[in-house]
Symmetry: C2
Subunit: 335 residues, 2 copies
Amino acid sequence: MNVKQIAKLSGVSAPTVSRVLNNHPDVREATRQRVLAVMQQTNYQPNAAARSLAAGQTRVVGLMVRKETDTIFNEADFSRLLLGISSACNPHDRSVMLWLVEPEYEQRMLQKITAGGLVDGVIVSTMRFTDPLIDALQASQIPFIQIGRHAGGVQASYVDIENLNGAREAVMHLLRLGRRRIATITGPLNLISSRDRRDGYLAALTERKTPIQAALIIEGDYSENGGYRAMQLLLPHQPDAVFVANDRMAMGALRFLIETGRRVPEDVALIGFDDLSFAAQTMPSLTTVRQPMMQAGALAAEMLMELIENPASPPKRIVLPTELVIRHSCGFRTR
Amino acid sequence: MNVKQIAKLSGVSAPTVSRVLNNHPDVREATRQRVLAVMQQTNYQPNAAARSLAAGQTRVVGLMVRKETDTIFNEADFSRLLLGISSACNPHDRSVMLWLVEPEYEQRMLQKITAGGLVDGVIVSTMRFTDPLIDALQASQIPFIQIGRHAGGVQASYVDIENLNGAREAVMHLLRLGRRRIATITGPLNLISSRDRRDGYLAALTERKTPIQAALIIEGDYSENGGYRAMQLLLPHQPDAVFVANDRMAMGALRFLIETGRRVPEDVALIGFDDLSFAAQTMPSLTTVRQPMMQAGALAAEMLMELIENPASPPKRIVLPTELVIRHSCGFRTR
DNA sequence: CTGAAAGCGCTTACAG
DNA sequence: CTGAAAGCGCTTACAG
């Protein structure tokens, strides 16, 4: 089944079939119905490759995700991002193509993408502040949207999460609860989200005129064991609260505190970041900052589709708010 | 840049460029080098749509995942499956297209896929024992591989996980530890994995000639609250151990037990299924069954690529072993 | 080993 | 509102 056959069966020409297929307004209603009926009967669907080639549009959206190390790659966030993108694309009849970027195949992927005929645009997610992937996309002229901000991308659109403010609010909450020696375990500081969260910590302290102490700031690696070790280093400096830049490290910190007989939150209060599924299940349950990754994915997809339709549209930057999920580890109090 | 231009620059014809592109052996080495050099200089990459149309091959692999309800959709497994598929496809220079199947768009997706020009084959993951998706794929003649077994798929290849045996071993472990009143909280029994895990439970009891009691078998819904409620119903029947068909429900069961003052594992031992990241972090840590989803994804992708190359090859069924991860909730003992 | 011709299945001006 | 012609950028026989 192809346009020619549909055309013959409907008693029209191929271009008319094409017009019906593409909802072109300039088709007489009777003709449209006739063609539609034949397409229905024959269960006809146009060939995607031919369509892409002729129209110069694939109706496919690409997603490039740099896998990073296992400790940084967060399965829940990844799933939610994907869910958001996919559910935004479905109603628009667009498909999504997924590339997990491994350095080994990075170049080839980029070439395939920029060669055309595969996708109309790309959503790119990488946690590195500076990433050659972004530069390559920038240079390639292909429409793209970043998840998170990145260095050098003056012209680029992005959807970011309010990492700074989310962290700031978490620390403010600890301050309001009367904590005074608040420490932080940061993520790897080559990641922009890690920096933002640390800066939020600093902002809260500064805002409340609380002294900042270098000894209370430790760089972690986003792993459970990293949190454990960081807490070990922190404890001699007697913090009464710790803002931990992700839930996984918070689990490790909690483990160390419990093993060494500290009470949480009485002796040391704890706030994490991510709201992974286990955060509600720890003992005590973990107060944490939730990021709207699904919404971020959906928005990025919408923005990309808009950019594809209208490549000249100016760059957009959206920063989504986080939500402080108050549980027990922070020294429970309903605000 | 297109084949014609590359041809002109290299002093050959378009078909020769095409042969070089496709590693056709019948090209003189000197010619090949000349063309390759020009392609390199011009940074040429062939257009994917044109290639797909002309060759009748897209070099794209599809993945259809039915989202099911939120409680059933397991983000960790989904991520791992995707990781496995993606890393298997990368070396073969294939891309992967992802569809999250929502009932609303199911028909259109299937039509697009079977119309051709989009993907060469499909990996399909759905937990329903009977799923129209499978039937439609079956009828469509498109090469496909199932994740998990399904009803009616006589000719279909699949990669499955040893749900039955994984459950069986978990229950055997409890029996070896001296438990005698072992209960189970199953998943929704319209899911094949749920049935398999229940059957594994039954198999172990039968094997050890332990009486099976209907009151000790409760159907859950894979949610945390479902586990909580199921445990509530189970407790009056005084089980001394519970095999729970997923970790999320196990968390709920654990919560109920602790809230009602039971000691785990002393009073009631617990084993889950999935090895979600929080399983190691509960108090007590959760003994559970780990499924090799990433490996399943990689294998499915390999099988699909083989099937695409050789559509006549006979169906293959692979069942991957699970691993019992022994922690504290089962009444710790190193085997 | 290489090229001229045809074709893959659509869409896009253009003319009427 | 509709159709004939050309074209999108490749690959596939076929002939030499």
